[in-house]
Amino acid sequence: MNWIAPYRNHIMKHLKYLEENSFSLIGEDDFSLTFNDGNILLVFTVERYSDSLSVWVEYLGNNPVDDNKYRLDIIMRLYLQKDMRDAFNGTSDEDKARLVKNYVDFVLNNKAQLFGKLFPLAKEYHEFNKKIALSALERFAKK
């Protein structure tokens, strides 16, 4: 089963636009796109036994302080300084189309600020990622 299938057509609709902006498609299983200017990999993926689309940004340059992989919805949340969870809701085909468009628009509108050789929000990202998780674990333990 190809778990990305429900999103395939929606991503393909933006492919030409992405390619015009220096992205190149290198694989369709997870829709990996390389961004030639900034040396990043943009990966659209759906985890097995799941419906949820995740988009990951991997910095291919040498950044010694982290693993260089960041989830785009968390980047958006940090960069735009607002809780974006509602923007990723929905299960209909229209919802999926909107979701993919949101991701693509964000990437193309902000690539100059965010996708250089190093990720400028790396420290904030990891702090946020850990803080939210630890808070959740504490909450789980009290249930």
């Binding site: 089963m1 997870d30 993926t45 985890e47 097995r48 036994y49 799941s50 419906d51 949820s52 689309l53 995740s54 040498n62 010694p64 302080v65 693993d67 989830r71 919805d73 968390i74 974006m84 969870r85 509602d86 990723f88 809701n89 946020f128 990622n129 850990k130 803080k131 939210i132 998780a133 630890l134 959740a136 674990l137 789980f140 333990a141 249930k143």
Partner: protein
């Protein structure tokens, strides 16, 4: 590197600063060298070349970064420390206490080798954290407190040296318990995939980052619905794809029963992915991932994540 020699040079604040800088730079170099030896030793036990190179390169970068940072701090201590705040003293205490406790626990449980491997990977950060408050005390003229903390730093240094020694003697030392499983592998959070001969080991994690490789490459596990015991072996959720209809159905009918059996049996529950990263627990819309549901269920049942063993313990 004799870390205790740092303490002998503390007659003046200037000497302290110079000694701390020299010591840290030397420590960083030793760490890189030690890591090289560790990587060399690990290679003898079957970890693939790609992973070994990645660990070595990354830790070398960490050590270099920390050395550079420490040098910068010591050259401009006041400017740097003003922005750090008063809480830095606690950093060293926490780091030191955690190292000693973790090392003792690892030794008691026969997992000293794993501890050393894990410690080396992040050692530069830890020692980097430690030198900041020490340098602060030194530059503020609190030589007495600085000496006390330097002893703690010496303790960390000795641990590093000890790890280096272990690395150089790998075939004869603590890793002997791992030899019985020459194909053990390391996951994205540093967990070691190693069977317990007396129990079933249930492995949990994100599919894309870890479980895909573990199921299909390491364990070569076919799709199955056998959630029964596998003493001396592994269990991982790998049912046919068409058993998935939606997240709630899959959790209720498949995933939860799978996990319940592991809990009831008292399996070792190894976490291949890091549960202290929100990106592993939650989807973009805030709902729990499959792995997130598993972590939540385990916490509800009294388990907690153990950073040292990368497993869930009660």
């Amino acid at each position: 590197m004799d870390w205790n020699s740092i303490a002998d040079k503390l007659s003046t604040v200037d000497n302290f600063e110079q000694a701390a800088e020299d010591g840290f730079v030397e420590g960083g170099k030793s760490m890189v060298d030690g890591l090289g030896q560790l990587a060399e030793g690990i290679g003898k036990f079957g970890i693939d070349q790609g992973y070994r190179d990645k660990v070595f390169d990354r830790a070398s970068d960490l050590a270099t970064s920390s050395v550079n940072f420490a040098s910068q701090v010591l050259k401009d201590p006041y400017g740097t420390f003003e922005s750090i705040g008063n809480g830095t003293q606690n950093v060293l205490d926490e780091v030191s206490d955690r190292y000693v406790a973790a090392r003792d626990a690892a030794e008691a449980s026969g997992k000293l080798a794993e501890f050393y491997g894990n410690m080396i990977g992040r050692g530069a950060f830890e020692v980097g954290s430690a030198v900041v408050p020490i340098g602060k005390l030194g530059t503020l003229g609190k030589a007495g407190e600085a000496i006390e903390d330097t002893e703690k730093l010496a303790n960390l240094g000795k641990t590093t040296e000890s790890a280096t020694k272990v690395a150089s003697e790998l075939p004869e030392r603590e890793l002997s318990s791992i030899v019985a499983c020459p194909n053990f592998k390391v996951t994205s959070n540093g967990a070691i995939l190693k069977p317990n001969p007396n129990k079933t080991t249930t492995v949990l994690g994100r599919f894309n980052t870890d479980m895909d490789r573990i199921i299909n490459n390491e364990l070569k596990m076919p799709k199955n619905t056998d959630f029964g015991p596998k003493q001396g072996g592994f269990n991982a959720l790998n049912v046919p794809d068409d058993m998935y209809k939606n997240p709630t159905q899959f959790w209720d009918e498949i995933n939860k029963p799978f996990l319940e059996k592991a809990i009831q049996r008292g399996d070792d529950i190894l976490m291949a992915s890091d549960p202290t990263a929100a990106s592993n627990l939650f989807n973009a819309d805030g709902s729990l991932t499959g792995f997130g549901r598993e972590v939540e269920h385990l916490y509800k049942n009294g388990f907690q994540y153990d950073q040292i063993t990368k497993s869930m313990i009660k």
